[in-house]
Amino acid sequence: MPDPAAATMDLPRRDARDKLQGRTRYTVDRGGAGTLQAVLLRAEVASARILRLDTAKARSMPGVRAIVTAEDAPGRHGIGIADHPLFATGCVRYDGEPLAAVAAETLEQAEAAAAAIAVELEPLPAVIEMAQALTPDAPLVHPDWRDYEVLLAGAARAGNVAWEATVVRGDVDAAFARADVTIVDSVFRVGRQNHLSFEPRAVVASYEDGRFHIETSTQVPWSVRATTAKLLGIAPSQVRVTVPAVGGGFGLKFDCALEPFAALLARASGRPVKLVNSRREEMLTCLCRENAEIRIRSAVTAEGEIVGREAVVLMDCGAYGGEQIFLTTMTAHTLGGNYRLGAVRLASRAVYTNTAPNGAFRACNGVYNTFALERHTDEICAAIGMDRLAFRRRNVLGDGDLGATGQVFEGDVLGPMLDKMVALRAEKPSRAPRAEGRLHGRASVVGTWFVFVGPSAATVNLNPDGSATLVTSGVEIGSGSMVQALPQIVAAELGLKPEDVVVRTADTDAAGYDVGVGGGRTTVSLGAASTAACVEVRRKMLKVAADMLETAPEDLVLAKGRVEIVGIPGSGVTIAEIAARAQSLTGPISGSGAFTGPGVAAMPGCAAGHFIEALDIPVFAVHDCEVAVDPDTGHVEVLAYTVVQDVGRALNRRAIAGQIQGGVVQGLGYALHEEMSIGPDGRILQSGLETYRVPLAEDVVPVEIHLHEGAPSIGPLGVKGAGEVPILNVGAAIACAVADATGRRVQELPLTPPRVLALLREREGPLELAHIAKDWREKVLG
């Protein structure tokens, strides 16, 4: 086995130089001479019957080469349920839904033709808010929901409830009926968050020799392949997906998006076709982090034991189920996470509305459930008169404790991390003086997340010059996993310098299946598959070397591009020599490897409608922040921010720190600045960066970062994903600190200045969420 300590740490990024010189060609920079430009014609009404869609005039306009509509794409796709057609079919379900796609010689010609398509729509009643969608006589977003193909059985569904996942463990009624408990009831609401990846969704597609080639800005090349095929009604093997450098993803590109439109247009026109979303389209139809509404109740003893907990989470999936169907699964592990619970029941419902579909966004579901859980925890502490840190230290999950679905957690991780944070707080004086007359607040909060494992494949080819080529379907979206962690892992396994490991960009024709880049899984899953491939390569290399050196393979070690006899430096041969030798003797050396999650067990019968019943690799985080709140304007300034993060083992501390700083700042945007509102007509109001405010340089602080190593992990070299979890606790930390500063009950995010001033001046009563009944049984289907 190679020595993990010998692995190269802090490898610089190989893609930085070109990115700094403006030379990197993202998908938006591609599409050479002869490429047609495409646009989508989108509906501008939330709900309507399509009476007529006439493309005849548009087809005869100058430069127009192809127009495709619902007739060209018969299939439906989805997660859990196949409810989503490519084009609005029969009716329009959200403002922005595509009606037709046009390809022309120039963008202006395509736009002119799209505008010339005759559309007749008959408006239908729309449901815009979840409360409205859940009323008994609400119009159904999908009247034919019963007829849809079900892709995963076992979940309850009905009307506008697209999916319901439930967890029931223990006797919750008995816990709440105990005489010695205090019952704390909290409700919370959060809005949507737009990823605002700088590169919008973009694709260049062509059709040659009966196959599609899709070059696209995605995190999931294999999902694009499968979904495009399903929508077009063709075999997945007819689709090849390649991925250049991706200009930011954050989960937005964890789903197929524009690719099938471009593919259809390419086949129809016989020309390469480029389709790029405008920023307005990205703002209005982005697969946002969903808006959500949460009721959580707990029965807690005076000593601080949580004997019972129940919760309902409503997640707005918009007009189609999409990722939210899957994400109902996560409530068990996020809202049901962090703490030891006596008895528990949770319901997580994805609700259809006539609004733009939502999707996946970094630590999806976890960000707002952690906000709700941690604010609820502080409300419990206030109700029973217990110190917030002491309560958390008493209740956080430790070795052998049961999670919400009955999985047994391994190792004491959160407890020692919390101790570390307490020690850090004691080391430094409070920043209260820097509040300068404003209200000072502070909070330390905990969070539970996971690594989304799942299948990955890797091939490693040993080249005659002594370098190695790693072939996977992994994508570099900016996090550095593909340019730092993976070459570091392969180099360590093969005794090479990381610079001598070539990393092939994603190509579904070249590499095996992969779930995609997201869920913090690249370093773990692709890393493990790469490690397995290296094991085979190493075995073959050592066999050849053993013959060359006339010794046994067990007596050989790999290091610095050479194979040496143990204990005799300089005795061996170079890897290049082995590669050349092997080529002439046995043919070139290569190895392949695969990985998937081992499947940690949940307690049987606890969970229904779940895609993941237990976490293979849990990841924990503790965040602390101090804020100053301006009592006159409601502005919240972050004075200090500290993170203790469980990373398993840090392979590239610098890269991890970069992810933590970036993730925390994205979380600050969610907590303080980034508001998305939906008008009464169902259209998102923030159509650009003037109104959608992400943090600027002056809004952020340097995050103090402490990595917690040594927690159990099945990842290669003991690693865990580090890029997703940094955003998890931020909404919670800010909300709890603002509540601490103001003494007000913070129930909503983002805490924009107007919202904070309204809280301070008590302009509105507390949030009630009357549509989530207090009796748990009344609000669940299953």
């Binding site: 700094l20 403006g22 590169e199 650009g688 600027l696 002056e698």
Partner: protein
């Protein structure tokens, strides 16, 4: 035809006078370093130097650039990375990379006029440059480092 100087070279564009300079650079001259991200002057990803001053090229009509000198990120590295570019690489500042062309054009000009800036001054200079990946601090560190090593 509209004549202008791009990265020291005389060029002529066939585009109309109201075409954004950004599109002329990207579509006609294949200088795709400058990025179209918001097209409203808030993100800074399309920043180029016009007669030596950083401007949002998405809001500059070609007609207003006629006869003037345009410099893009592609011309920053002359025979090697500039000091600022090198500092960005050394600090492992880059992530997805889409904002860097604009960040570099803004900061290159800023450091020319403010050779010994404070951290707060660097941050204020970046009021029109958004980064969605990095959380800014490392970009600021690199800029301060580039100034110190000048």
């Amino acid at each position: 035809m509209t004549a202008l100087t791009v990265n020291g070279e005389e060029r002529a564009s066939r585009s109309g006078p109201m075409t954004p300079l950004l599109d002329v650079l990207r579509e006609e001259f294949f200088l795709t370093g400058a990025k179209a991200v918001c097209r409203e002057g808030f993100c800074g990803a399309c920043t180029v130097h016009l007669d030596g001053e950083p401007v949002a090229s998405c809001l500059v009509p070609l007609g207003a650039a006629a006869g003037r000198e345009v410099r893009t990120v592609e011309a920053l590295a002359a025979g090697g990375l500039s000091r600022l570019q090198q500092a960005m690489e050394d600090h492992d500042a880059v992530q997805c990379g889409m904002c860097f062309p604009g960040m570099l054009m803004t900061l290159t000009d800023f450091l020319r006029h403010t050779p010994a800036p404070t951290r707060a001054e660097v941050k204020a200079a970046l009021a029109g440059n958004i980064c969605r990946c990095t959380g800014y601090e490392r970009i600021v560190d690199a800029a301060l480092d580039a100034a110190r090593s000048a």
